[in-house]
Symmetry: D4
């Protein structure tokens, strides 16, 4: 029941087609979404072409393919994260327009162009092992309409490579920094740019890296202000947040 | 040495006033900031009235007062975080325009109006014990030019109070959510709004709260996308990041 | 706005006293509590004499006294946890009927008899150092109308004392077990009784007790089924949950 | 030796059929269970049809089948948790009435109707990945005689779905809440209901979820009173405790 | 009720002075200690002069003095651990024979000679900061009747001092090794001796010592077999266990 | 170089057959074992029939077989812990007298009777899943000459089974208690016996058991004195320590 | 652009072949490495024969072979750490001079002799399970030109073996100590030598070893000064640091 | 007994002034230090002017003063770490030449010039709060004869300040890097220099810094090779290790 439905109901009351008691009952029992509240839930779907996201971890290829088919058949774009190669094959067999991004373990199915976002995103990562998480962030941001600049292999122990790319990083409106091991890169980048920095710790490393804990703690304690952190290996979360930041920018 | 100085040097070379060898030596030994690189560091100071921030923890009242005096005498605004009442008294004695925000343990000294930021910030907090951290976030964002809406006492165990304020929260362009104990509020707020959410865990709680660890972990694992996290009790970091996000918005 | 108000609104629409558009707007903007939802929040207060609880930690004696005065002046009972001796004195000066339970660090002010609960609660604790937490649980349960049997000093290393009291423990309808150090008591008691067991780890112990972490983990891993755990030192939570369990029992 | 046996022994003494010294020896050496104490241990078995529970983890299909056969041949119902598909096949081959609940990884064999419990249990869970644990809780509660209402996919980031089901949740006499990731759902549900809430953290999540630690800590720190916590993924424990709570309700 | 009482009861039954039903009731309701079980609890007290131990932490000087007075008035020796100087003064005022061991923070009151134990105990410690814990162990062992050899300042980084004392250490029948920081001493000593080694980690150290955690983990992982560990700073536990080991030695 | 060799050297000096400078050099460079010090290392091997222990984890079947062959060919007994079934087959093929203890994952090869130890060991364990670790302890103690009483399935949630066996446990001179999950059994047993208790936490459990951490912490914090702890799953360590305790007992 | 290029540019300016504005632009836009800064990055490569290091973990055999081929074709030596047997085969097929060190899981390809380093390195390890990490350290140090003395199986529980080798250890200019379990060896060695000690914790051990955490903490808390620590299992890091220390020694 | 004493003893034997049996006895019973072994322990003292170090934490001013007096009266230099102002006053009152370094909380008493070390040490620190630990490192290194260059306030978020000082840092033969919070500085410095880097995490920071744990983990996981780590806040350890590295450099 959308706002127009409420209005229709009230018109019916005024016109005597519906008794007030019955109308009160309908209003009392309609689900919250009928009161405008639920627009929260479906508001994304209401915009044409805005993507729905499926977390692929723990779902079978068939389940994933069914979900993507359902979403795209409604005219919406779909993004699947943590998608295996098998899941990708199952989807493509049913939704031929779908594309698999192997490095990012992500799958996208576009049936409409996303609303382009204003401003650009830089996705910066430290080592080659961090690239899958960085790619998940980049694919996610692009899928939501952002233009993404990928800047790779700029670890803090080789500053000149990082400084060579500093210009490109500074032009971005949101900077995503992906790093494992000691997780120092967001602090260094945070000192170089004015834009907000989203730090993504990765589980890359061994021993006292403790599957990303070392990088996570480092990033939370960054001496550069303007840095916030998402979960370990959560490239999707970073890409989504970047898109969220850009989406709010006025025309 | 600014770009014009480099040009002047080169002109001197062309004019024969400076030998190439000597010029090469000067270029090689000039500090990096003279090459434009250091503008990174001072760029904030170059804008009139943009604040400098002093971390008050571990500094004596006299040290803090000296720093604030020096900053304001250059025509810049100053913000002191983690400022004790004693530090505030010491500053006000020397910089009468300074104001102490006791709840936030923050001190501001304004000698110029900050450049107003486009868009508003909502600072949402769960319990009364979280208010000091929330206030630090709010004061910081305001100090950098943001308009801040404070929304307090909207814990997840009393949803109707939160939902009553949902409209106000949804109007903000950036939402800061401050919570201790189980740290559930950012997930709930993240589901209600489209704007980016900055989550601040606080050390409020006891026992298995482990000084904010429980809330920190909860926030990092938020099931709502679009949420990033700063350090425990880091209200300043959240306020600064919110201002950073708004600052990048085009006119 | 209660249901009758909605009906009145609809009657106004039918009678032509209110335009459908205006009525739709009113329905859309009325606070959630007007839809019956908020009764959740105030339902406790609506029952005569049902207590309100104030967490005394971090509040000044004066703040606590004001809160208690306000609650009792509305005809409701008040419970203050983590109340210092100073806070107790401040309350008693303004609410003479208030009583301080020093061991439990709890303060109660009763202006009405609580609705008696059906069934009894046993509060069992291992060592004398655990008694403050056990008393907080007992006082809380009593305040909500439960009859409480206190059983103290029945640690697992002296089984015969525990077995001597097994009869009394088994008669309770809910058993709260409070223990620090190795936290073994809930497992042993859980094997002796049929009633639900609420385990409360305490921060009693030293070294590898890690402020209650050892007891907490032990209780979560209890080999006796029918045991659930609350936060470290959270006597209030256990007492409240026990009352909640009894409250649901049919007449 | 049950109480009547003790009496018989004493009768024999009075009648001169047994010397006091010999009787004293028999009393001193009889196992504790002969003194009524051991009824603790077998009291469940003494009620007709009350189930026995087998923890299937680490047992071979054959071991499990043997145990189930033995229990059911005594006329008792059996519940096997953490039962693999292979174990289920082995049981069904020998106890044809057994049923396998694949999602819950649980197996039930009923030879008698359980004594129905008074009151209902709601099993609420946040995400689809939490369903196996929730099902283990539900199956366990049902097996002990409870009526269970399953409420799924009501995560805190989509409040309206949760609020839509709030009525059903509030009607339950015990509420089990199952959640992974940030573990926020018990706090929100705890604020919506009057009934006791049993929170079950799951190991669902990644990175800083630390296999359920984040959810566990969040639940222990719930700001909603009336919430207690069982071990990570311990759906059985929650279902059993819920049945225990209901079992104590007077007729 | 001791065994003779049971016999008397049975004699009464045979003699017709007591009805079997009444006798059965008495047997069923007598406390477990009357069945010989409780001798477990009091067996120590039954031996003349065997000490009782009071954990002084968290008790007031007056409480401690009362306890010691009561114990010694029964003719038993008393040991108080974690006793402050104030507690010692309070005890000595009422039990003049009591002696305070300041380094060990222990207080002993002897009214009878302890039964001498067979064999000797070596208490070995690494650094001067570990001496209080080592002394608590030594005083405890002596109080229970052991002969103790104290060997101090033999850290692993100065092997020759340790090797100089190796002969004395090897003569002991039980070796207690006390160490903080890296906790390496028990492994080295464990390789030097044939006797059982009780390792006591201390909270001595800073930074990554984490209040004794580093030493505790090291000791649990000792590469020398024959080593067991007690809680951090638990000198009492080590001394008591050493006495327990010696006590079991046949004459 | 044994003491007689030193004397010979000195005789050579006196007789002028060896220059003092050369003699000083020889003394300075002779290995420590020549000074009697190294007897420490070989003293075990010097006793006929005393076993050597091989940690089988991470060694190939062939490596293990070679080691056992070498040991037994010297006339010594050998014990292999953490031995796979494959390793056992490889050993038996070369040392036919070897026996594999599958539950304990231990392999013993006896070529001589061990020196019998005075006194007995009880190995007590809580659940069936703890039996492999308990068996490793029992086999180890037996291998070193102890008489072992195995007492299984006496968890704390079923006290009467434990109490039924209390007599047997109390007769032992050393008690090994093996438990996973909440690790409560050593505290209960520690209260029942006078003998030293060696507690072995196992990695049995799930969720917040954290692979034995919960049981380990519980045991370190045991409220029963006279309890010491070895590493998680370290049945060998417990059995060896028990033998060490008994070995020191005088004839 | 090397310094001579800058001079050439300036000469061009003086000669009028280049306009000052154009020269300023070139200076402003040249990459940092052209200013001498980037020599940091390539300085190793500039020395003939100095090795490049490839972290083999997570790379395919083909990727590794390509990298080694590229490095050696430039006339440089290559070291691959964490190289599988398959990777080794792939490399040798394309770079026949490459050698695989299976124990160390390291692969070296030498096309030039390394510059010999002054001074020697001792690599000391405690147990046979630690040898792979020790070998990685040794191979790494040798690859960088150091002479390495390997000293194995000198655990702290068998001091005489360690003391037998003390002379060899003391002759080294840098000592690497590798140990798992309780990690005590660096403290003991640190007390024996004057040279700097690099401690490498290994993940060898079980239970409370927590994959090397116990050893890591022990080493960080070493009571012997002059000890520093690298990451768990990081033999490469230790070998590299040892070479770095020796490299700085003056001729 | 120093080597000359052994020689004298042997001369006595040759001369017939001492019987071989008596000489053998003396050799057997002399402490290990008399055999040259103990030179390890006193070797520092044997060099004129080489300092002795006193850990001041937990010692009284009087104890410290006594120790310093004793050391200096033997003609040796003394260093006291963690010395309070009161301790400093007590020392200066008795050893007037002593000097207190308040920032470093260190006290030095020099009665002889230390042997100058070859090569220089750079002590680099990130923030002003890290200076006390950095100063402890610098004072320690200087006390052992090193020339120290202090480089402060070069955090990674302000790279140009760090790069400005890169030349000075690169000239050092050992670099100590001190940092709290995210601990990123050693990785960045490690990429800039060829010298060995000793990283010192500090407890500076709050919240998820966990008293230096975040910085410690980051440093252990440094992506720059050639970095080793000492304990949190262990400036002394870093300074001592730096001196150890330089001491081994050949003339």
């Amino acid at each position: 029941m959308d706002p127009r439905d409420v209005l229709g109901l009230l018109e019916d009351v005024r016109a005597g087609r519906l008794a007030p008691g019955e109308a009160a009952h309908r209003l009392a029992t309609l689900p919250f979404e009928d009161l405008g509240f639920a627009r929260l839930d479906h508001h994304r779907a209401l915009r044409k072409g805005f993507p729905e996201v499926v977390f692929g971890g723990g779902k079978t290829p068939d389940q994933i393919a069914t979900l993507v088919e359902r979403i795209t058949s409604r005219g919406q774009n779909a993004l699947v994260t943590r998608a295996s190669r098998e899941a990708a094959a199952a989807v493509v067999a049913r939704v031929p327009s779908a594309a698999y991004h192997e490095t990012a373990r992500a799958l996208t199915a576009r049936v409409a162009d996303p609303e382009p976002l204003k401003g650009g995103v830089a996705v910066v990562c430290a080592g080659t092992s961090d690239i899958p998480v960085a790619e998940e962030a980049a694919i996610t941001a692009e899928f939501h309409g952002a233009v993404v600049e990928r800047i790779q292999d700029v670890g803090v122990a080789g500053l000149h490579r990082l400084l060579d790319r500093a210009g490109a990083i500074r032009q971005a409106d949101v900077v995503i920094v992906v790093a494992g091991m000691e997780g120092a890169l967001p602090s260094v980048v945070g000192g170089l740019v004015e834009a907000p920095v989203i730090a993504v710790p990765t589980s890359v490393g061994y021993g006292a890296a403790f599957q990303g804990l070392a990088a996570l703690l480092a990033m939370l304690n960054s001496c550069a202000p303007g840095v916030a952190v998402v979960n370990i290996d959560n490239g999707f979360g970073a890409g989504y947040l970047a898109a969220t930041i850009l989406r709010r920018r006025p025309a």
